[in-house]
Symmetry: C2
Subunit: 140 residues, 2 copies
DNA sequence: CGCGAAATGTAGCCTCGGCTATAAATTTGG
DNA sequence: CCAAATTTATAGCCGAGGCTACATTTCGCG
């Protein structure tokens, strides 16, 4: 083979890293949502909303705790740490921008909401900034 | 908990399915690229371009063969089946549209290329259609 | 030709993120 | 206040997708 384009490798690598962060991001955002609604996030509710079996949610929460994003005691609710809350806020904001951008270029709202759930995790900060600038331009 | 929004669950489910298809899509596209350049795709080249160790590429190719997307004989190159070629074409086209859309809303080209590698796998046919329509409108 | 280098295959390890089945704790209501 | 229902925990299975180490085959070249 000739040379290997480093940009291309970087793209695949970034996509792999984003995929591995996606679960964390969705759980943290959901825990934050549930906390706002009910004051705490229960494992059962997390599992129901994410569409997984509850042991799957339990495992995910264990990982969040390992990473210092959440805390919990046995048979009690799950709560975000400050670090977790900060991540949730970032993720929530990005989710909204992605949906808005999709809608702005003509994607039906319902479809935008579905696709955004996956797309959001691959939107870098620079792309996010471009989306925001575009939305601002378009609105004003 | 109160009710559980089925649309939201569907979004997470779609994102999970897309993530599991992503690897297949990238490999098939890359095999097609290498075939165009060199007449065949070698495991070493696949691994180098995707940024993984060669046993990882070998495993992935084994899966493609299982799924009827590629064929190969020991110590020889990998080739796509008709089904594989068709998928490669679809994936390549979508990749281009995603990059073009990102550029059109103001994302720098280099960044667009990086982010598209992950985003593309989460763009549904309806969103793709909207992107194409937007690009057509903007160009004309 | 034949030998060393390069490519490919294979074995086996790891983590992650699904799942089911079963056990234990907690909550609820009669 | 106790029994049943609900919730949570735990054990253990699976496949995917990474990796390293090592074996084997093919290739290139003197
Ligand atoms: Mn998401
Ligand atoms: Mn989201
Ligand atoms: Mn890709
Ligand atoms: Mn691609």
């Amino acid at each position: 083979m000739t040379e290997t384009d480093p940009t291309q490798i970087k793209g695949f690598d970034r996509a792999r890293q984003a995929a591995s962060r996606a679960l964390t991001e969705d759980y943290v955002e959901m825990i934050s949502d549930l906390a706002a609604e009910f004051g705490e996030a229960r494992i059962t509710d997390l599992a129901a909303r994410l569409g997984v079996a509850h042991p799957t949610a339990t495992k995910a929460v264990a990982r969040l705790k390992r990473e210092g994003l959440a805390i919990s005691r046995p048979y009690r609710g799950v709560f975000l740490t400050e670090k977790g809350e900060a991540l949730a806020e970032t993720v929530r904001a990005r989710h909204r921008v992605v949906v808005a951008l999709l809608c702005a270029v003509g994607v039906p709202k319902e479809v935008a909401e579905l696709d955004a759930e996956g797309i959001e995790h691959h939107v870098s900060s620079r792309t996010l900034a471009a989306f925001e600038a575009y939305l601002t331009r378009k609105t004003d």
